[in-house]
Structure formats: C-alpha cells, structure tokens
C-alpha cells in the first residue's frame, strides 16, 4: 500500500533526480567548454589575450576579427582547406561506391557464396598486416605522395559494410521480388528500391566517413610529402602541436606575435566548425550507425 497510492515521487528520489540533473549538466558543460573557449579566444582582443592566457568563457573585449581576416590571408591554410574538401568529397564518393554494392550483394539470399565472402571480409577486422606492410604496399604501388593514396586509404570500410548489410537484410524480400518480376536488374533494384529505403543508415555512414576523412591526419603525414597536397589537419598540427609558424609564412602581412595567438584559435574554429554544424542533423540516426550486435550472423 506504500507504493500503490503515491502520486508524487519520494523525497530521496527527488533529491537523486536533482543531483542527477546537475551532474549531467556539468558533464554537458565539460564537453562544450573547451571548444567554446577556443571560439571566445578567437574573437578576443589579441594583445590582452596574449598577455593573460588562461581559460575564457567570455571573449575579451574589444572583440577582434583580425584572427579570421589573417587566417584567410594565409595561402597555406587556404590550400589545406581546399585539399581537405577534395579528399572529403571524392573520398566519400569512392567509399560509398565500394561499400554500398558490397553490402547489397552480401545481403542477398540468392548470392550463394555470401557466407564465405562475409568471413573473408570480417577477418580483416580481427587481424591486419599492420602499419609497415600496408605502408610498403603503398610504396610498391607507387602511391606515395599522390592524392590517390589518401582516397584509397578510406575507400572501403568493413565495419560500415556490415552495418549497411544488416540494414538491407531488414527490408522485406517481397519488394525485390516484385521489382524482379517487372524486369529490374540488381543495379536497378539497389539504386531504386533498396537505397531509398535505407536513407537513414546511408546518411549516418556518409557522415561518419566524411568526418573521418575531414579529421584524419596520420595517413597524410606518412604518404604525402608535398605541402601543396596536405589537408588542413597537417597544417593545424604544425601550428598547434609543433608550434611552428611555417604554415603561417607567406601570409599577406607580417603578423605580430599577439596576432599569431589569435590566428591559432581562428584556424581551429575554421577547421572544426563545418563538422560541428553538420552532426546534429544526423544524430537521431546515430543508433543505427553504432549497432554492433549486428555483426553476429
């Protein structure tokens, strides 16, 4: 009778809920704060910022957009940005071109060797040749210092293929059968029937691949020598990690040291913002994209 008649939550329960909400608020704050700090610094007054350092949740007045003006004046940064866009656009296209048909074929019951091919693919998730042998394959194929090497690194993802395959297998067989009766071939079935019904999974995978390419730096660091082919992340590494001003050479104007601090923040914002703007739109589909239990079977 203690439990049945109550409408309001008990006092300990209410205390728990309040504490829970506060702790979650703090977690949220911690996740947001570092990037907010970077943004605030990027529009702060350069000379005060360079003198004080520390953590800023409010930009230091008077606001200055000199950092952003400077960023777009550096040729290197612009090159990096355009290169990154190139790698993302063509890399995603190539990845989908390889991953989607593979997932489609392996999801068809009519395809006899599906089980064997699946094992062939999934084994690569458990064991790999590792960094050096892979690097040597690229060397021997003459891919070093080519843009193609970067596109090829991300051209196929077994993990995404498995997720897509599971999503394709969930669609009713009747759809395919009626299309086949109407004379559609497999390419047509995939493009006109299966893909439009799997938009959510496709959107998530596209986003994950795009973000992965946008943020990648290591493969470019080992495969690319020419700075003219570098993605933005490598220039960022020079500025943020190696503390080198080399990326900021050949700027339109010789910049004061204080301005360079500002530029550091501005570049970070410019290189991160596109992704932070895109992800909220796909996030309701994330659950589909991270379904890992689906590997079974």
């Amino acid at each position: 009778m203690k439990y049945g008649t109550k409408i309001r939550e008990s006092l300990p329960r209410r205390i728990f809920l309040a504490v829970n909400a506060v702790v979650l608020g703090l977690v949220g704050f911690c996740c947001l704060a570092p990037m907010w700090h970077v943004f605030c610094c990027s529009i702060s007054n350069p000379s005060v910022l360079a003198r004080t350092g520390g953590f800023h949740l409010i930009p230091i007045a008077p606001f200055s957009f000199a950092g952003y003006e400077a960023v777009f004046g550096y040729r290197n940064i612009l090159t990096g940005y355009l290169n990154t866009l190139f790698y993302v656009v063509f890399g995603v296209a190539l990845n989908l071109l390889l991953t989607v048909p593979c997932a489609y074929v392996l999801s068809r019951k009519r395809f006899l060797p599906a089980g064997a091919v699946m094992m062939f693919m999934v084994f690569t998730m458990l064991f790999s040749g590792g960094l050096i042998p892979t690097y040597l394959v690229f060397v021997k194929l003459g891919l070093i210092n080519t843009r193609l090497s970067i596109l090829l690194c991300t051209a196929f993802s077994t993990f995404n293929m498995v997720i897509l395959r599971t999503s394709f297998m969930g669609l009713p067989d009747a759809l395919e059968e009626s299309a086949r009766l109407d004379g559609a071939n497999d390419l047509q079935i995939m493009v006109r029937i299966i893909l439009p019904l799997s938009k959510a999974s496709l959107a998530v995978i596209t986003l994950f691949v795009a973000v992965g390419i946008w943020n990648s730096w290591f493969t470019s660091a080992i495969y690319l020598m020419d700075r003219s082919k570098w993605p933005i992340q490598l220039f960022l590494r020079e500025v943020l990690i190696n503390n080198s001003q080399k990326s900021l050479e050949s700027g339109v104007k010789a910049s004061a040291e204080s301005l360079q601090t500002l530029v550091k923040y501005a570049i970070t914002v410019v290189a991160t913002l596109p992704i932070l703007c895109i992800y909220p739109f796909a996030q309701r589909h994330f659950v589909k994209g991270v379904m890992i239990g689906s590997i079974k079977g």
Binding site: F55, T124, L131, T134, L152, F156, D186, Q233, F286
Partner: protein
Amino acid sequence: MTSISPAKKRKHGGRLILNYRQNRLLYWMLLPSVVYVLIFNYLPMAGLAMAFQDYSLTRGIFGSKWVGLKNFQDFFSGIYFARTLTNTLILSLLDLLICFPAPIVLALMLNEVQHAGYKKLVQTVSYIPHFISMVVVAGLIKEFTNSTGVIASIVKVFGGTPRSYISLPQYFRSIFTISQVWQTIGFNSIVFLAALSGIDQELYDAAKIDGANHIQQTWHVTLPGIASTIIIMLILRCGAIMNVNFEKVLLLYSPSTYETADVISTYVYRVGIVKQKIGYSTAVGLFNSVVSLALVLTANKLSRTYTDSSMF
C-alpha cells in the same frame, strides 16, 4: 552423415557456376570491394613475411635474406620491449577501468532523466568531443596542461608550483586517460542508451508490483537488460587492448615522456617509417597483431562459455 562423394562435390561446384549464371550482375558488383580488400588488407598480411627477413627496399620481398626469428629475438631482448609493452598495457587497462564504464554510467544517468528536452540537450552536447579532430584535441590538451594553462593556474590558486605537465612523464597517463574519457563518454553511450530503450517496460511494472525500489529495479531489470550489449562492447574493447589510441599518443608524446608514453605502435612507427628498419618493425607489429587476435578470440570464447552473448 555420409562423406561427400566426388560427384556431390562437382555438383556443389556446379551450383556455384549456376548461381553465377543466374546472378551475373551480383558477382560483378562485388568484384571492386573484393579486389580492394585483397590488395589493401590481404596483401599486407602476405607482407608480414618481412618480419622474418633482413628486408631491403631495393631487393624486395623475394630477394631479401631470410633471418628466421632474429627480428623477434632482437625486439624481445632489447630495452624497448619491456617499456613499450608495459606502457601499452597500462594505458589500455586504465582505458578499460575508466573509459569503458564511464559511458555506461552516463547512459544510466540519462535514462533517469524525465524531462525529454533536457536529456536530448545533454546527449547532443556530449557528442561534440567525438567530432573534434585528434589534432585539435591534442592541441587543446597541450594548451591546458602547459605551464601557463588552466591546470597550472588552478594549481597556482591552491599554492602549488605550476609546471608543464604534458612534458613530465609522471603525468602522461592521467592526462591521456582523462582526455580519453572526455572524448568518448558521450558517443560511446549511444549504444547503451539504445539497449536501455529496448528493455520491456512491463518488466519495470512487474518489479514495482513485487515491491522493488528504484535501486532494485536498476539492479534486477536495467542492468540485466543491457548486459549482453555491455559484454559485446567489452569483447571488442579487449580485442583492442594492444591498440592504444596511437595517433593521440603520437601527437602528445615527446622524447621527455617516452618513458611512460611510448607504446608498441608508436615505436613501430618510429622504427619503421622514420628509421626505415622495415623487417624489424614488421616483426614488432606482427607481435602486436597476433596478441590482439589472441585476446579477442579468448574474450569471445570466455563470453560464450560463461554467458549467452558472443560476437561470433
């Protein structure tokens, strides 16, 4: 069961040919990805033969001298073996103990929130770190932990001497692990939240009727409800024990912190790509891959034996 007769075998091969004739296009659509995986996944595996060679780039894999297990002996008897293995294991165990449970706790906490809008807000914000590039994250860590950074100024307030923590070996593991929690807690909670939403609501009603309070409900309904997801994630995590977030270590470490920061994969990178000692670094990498494979198979087997969940 009877053994397969040659005639039956031929029939099986015949079935494959028949299947190809009926579904030609399917086979052709699969071809590009199979070729890709052969070249970029299986060819490097064949290249692992270099681990047993005194490999020279000019002579190639067929012309280089075979040295048996010499590369492995060199690694196991050198000073780097103990150091890189210890560092790899410690960073991984910290990850397993702290970064692995954190998203589960977050998911359980989010699950208790009754205000849908607030829950959504916290979730969305907590995904942000996952989308920030490793280079930027490493840049932030360096900024916050240097001698004029946030950590240093907090220490100063409490009367300590501010230092450049990222360049001191004794702080590397803490910095690495804490930032790792920050990077992964939100995004990794998604899969647990999905599992939580899949729990049958009637189970809670039944538990309430039996007089279970909230803690008992969490213990007897919620946790068993997401146990299989936790186990599968744990298997995956165990398989990755040897693969510490190597790109992050590479960006954060420096010769002054090698002592606690240098892991097997960063060592492979330095010796193989930078110093071009191909055969030796392949051997070190192979050691890493073999241990990884053994770990994931063991974890899977244990889980299949003691629980109902397994990955394959």
